[in-house]
Symmetry: C3
Subunit: 281 residues, 3 copies
């Protein structure tokens, strides 16, 4: 369950981001936006949130990556997302899409498809229900959390791998489907990341934060597969450490949220080398 070369490259990327401090432009939801900004800062990158149509194209021009998150989408912001995404494509700036709640409403699913038809993505990251919904697989999204029926257990992993591989080819971007095991594919090779902790689903925003981390790493490399693997692994490792520290402190969900940001800001290359668990199929 160890792919040494990949782990080494993830280490390098997570160190480099602290030096390069790329600017990551977000059009995101108002629920988890503060957590997204703080996790990007904790990774070493620099966040900027701006969503007015009159400035998003200018703002993205300065950015090293663009994160589109439809968590609390509305007519005004979807229009801005389209404009920002197209501008990013024009300039070769990588775009990450988080299809929050896709499948839950027609608006969310159709907005994701609209974005996918008009904007070339670097990475799409969602939970199993969301990714299946966007891809046209039968899904049972309930709100923004993965549905019980869609949870992948180890038996279903092969089916999950087929999904991310198929959709990666279809959409021409990296697809990251996060859950108990995280599956990430570039259409050819599919990786499984075994880091993380169930407590990550006990607070809001860990999915959004993971997408923002992927955005941060996309800001310093054109190897978007590596960027996606890095974001997902960093989130998983931070979740493990935060859980341990929360448990030691007899803490609950509030403490976990703080320790999670702590863990990302304190993460070292050594942590990744020792605890990173990744396999390739």
């Amino acid at each position: 369950m160890k792919d040494s070369n990949i782990v080494k490259n993830i280490c390098t990327l997570t160190v480099l981001v602290r030096e390069k401090k790329p600017l990551i432009h977000h059009l995101t939801n108002y629920v988890t936006v503060n957590d997204c900004a703080n996790i990007v800062l904790a990774s070493g990158a620099s966040p900027i949130m701006a969503d007015d149509l009159a400035e998003v194209e200018e703002m993205v021009t300065m950015a090293s990556a663009l994160v589109l998150n439809i968590g609390t989408l509305n007519q005004r912001t979807v229009e801005s997302m389209m404009a920002a995404g197209k501008k990013a494509n024009e300039l070769g700036i990588p775009v990450v899409l988080d299809p929050v709640g896709a499948g839950a409403t027609v608006l969310r699913t159709s907005t994701c498809r609209l974005l996918l038809e008009n904007i070339k993505l670097a990475v799409m990251r969602g939970n199993v229900s969301e990714i299946k919904a966007v891809g046209g697989f039968e899904a049972t999204t309930k709100g923004v959390d993965v549905s019980q029926q869609d949870l992948l257990n180890s038996k279903d992993l092969d089916y999950g791998r087929k999904i991310v591989q198929t959709l990666s080819k279809k959409f021409g971007c990296i697809v990251a489907m996060t859950g108990e095991v995280d599956l990430i594919s570039d259409g050819t090779k599919t990786y499984s990341i075994y880091n993380g902790h169930p407590m990550l689903s006990s607070i809001t925003g860990t999915g959004c934060m993971c997408s923002s981390l992927i955005g941060a790493y996309c800001g310093i490399t054109s190897d978007y597969l590596l960027a996606a693997l890095s974001g997902v692994m960093v989130m998983g490792l931070a979740g493990e450490k935060a859980y341990q520290q929360t448990w030691e402190a007899n803490g609950g969900n509030g403490t976990f949220r703080i320790k999670l940001i702590d863990a990302v800001s304190l993460l070292t290359g050594e942590d990744i080398k020792v605890r990173g668990r990744i396999g390739a199929e």
Copy 2:
């Protein structure tokens, strides 16, 4: 000051919610939305925030309860609240209203009345100033905090009980007026909850979070009085525990906020049995 049967029922409800994980749809403000999402998760329920007119009716269809919070209302979101509320009524999904800042501006007071005229509520929860303003009693709202003049002391409790009972009958819903002593009425019976701590008013969002908790419990019972009592008591008990832990840690407002979410996520039936303080008049 102990109504054993009620306390037992509150215990049952707070345990059941963790098993049923009801989806609680929010149209709420952007100041405390993250805290509301995290407190709902801490209670065991699942939050979804969505406010675009194009999706709120579809979203509420999936939900077990709807929370309307006017903390940062605007023309667009009020329209969405109306649509979501009406759809919830049509489907028999309980609606909780938090009239944040009612009385402070004409817009807030009139929006609350508009919602009350068009939507049948399960529960309305506010502070003394807000509840009085919505009900047409003379109030002196200052911003979103209860005014000094409106603070109920023990002498005024009978007056407070009359207010919640009158308004409960008038609006045909449970009315919860939270403060030093929390008063909750279904128009016939009126309960007083003596839990809580003054430090709850030292951070933003504790009122909003209380309304969201009530929404979480409304999602699994048709006894909305019990749901309101549960939400108010859980918030009060969490406030007491958070204060104690903050004090022990020499912490301030920041620590208190974290410990509050911790306390809700770690709350047990035993805590409620031992520390819950409620009386009926």
Copy 3:
């Protein structure tokens, strides 16, 4: 590096605010709004966030100060800012402007200038890049963080002092330019505050929070220079204390954010007397 009289006056103001609890109306961004509300409460004042055109004028009438923060400005909220600011001017209520990201986009720079042309400010607070951009000095804003080129080191302090003094005269308001050394001028006298810690730039919102604190102090004095000095010094002292406690707890960015709010809520006059470092030129 000690101006005893000023330090004594800052002490008085930070104690008085807890007694007077002024209401501070904010039109601000959705990224750091919760932190702004909580820091205002930690200072002893009371925050209200409201941005709909239909209520901002009425709301500001009740307030003791108005904070305008363009962090996630859009067409709708800029219109509301104009209305609220003009009403505040009419009533003699002090207005604080935080020109977040000025210089990064035409929209931000031109909005700041529009606000400056139409609204008489009490205080403008920004980082070096933002203040230079608003003032028409050559700046190199990158997102919302100060650019490397714009960082003032001790050699450049005289240049920085010239900027704040010139702009204070030009705009007829106190100008506070925060950074490694904070420079605050009323056009005649220019103060330097040497408190603070680099970790303040490792989380989002510390600039916004500083502006909100200045708003809180403006709410109880007509000496806006003193209010600006107080807000900047309290933020700096809180940053120092939060860093120390984060370090002792082996914490990271998440812990620092919590300790920062703690530090403001627990700050005493004694802390200010002992650790406040200010000089006048």
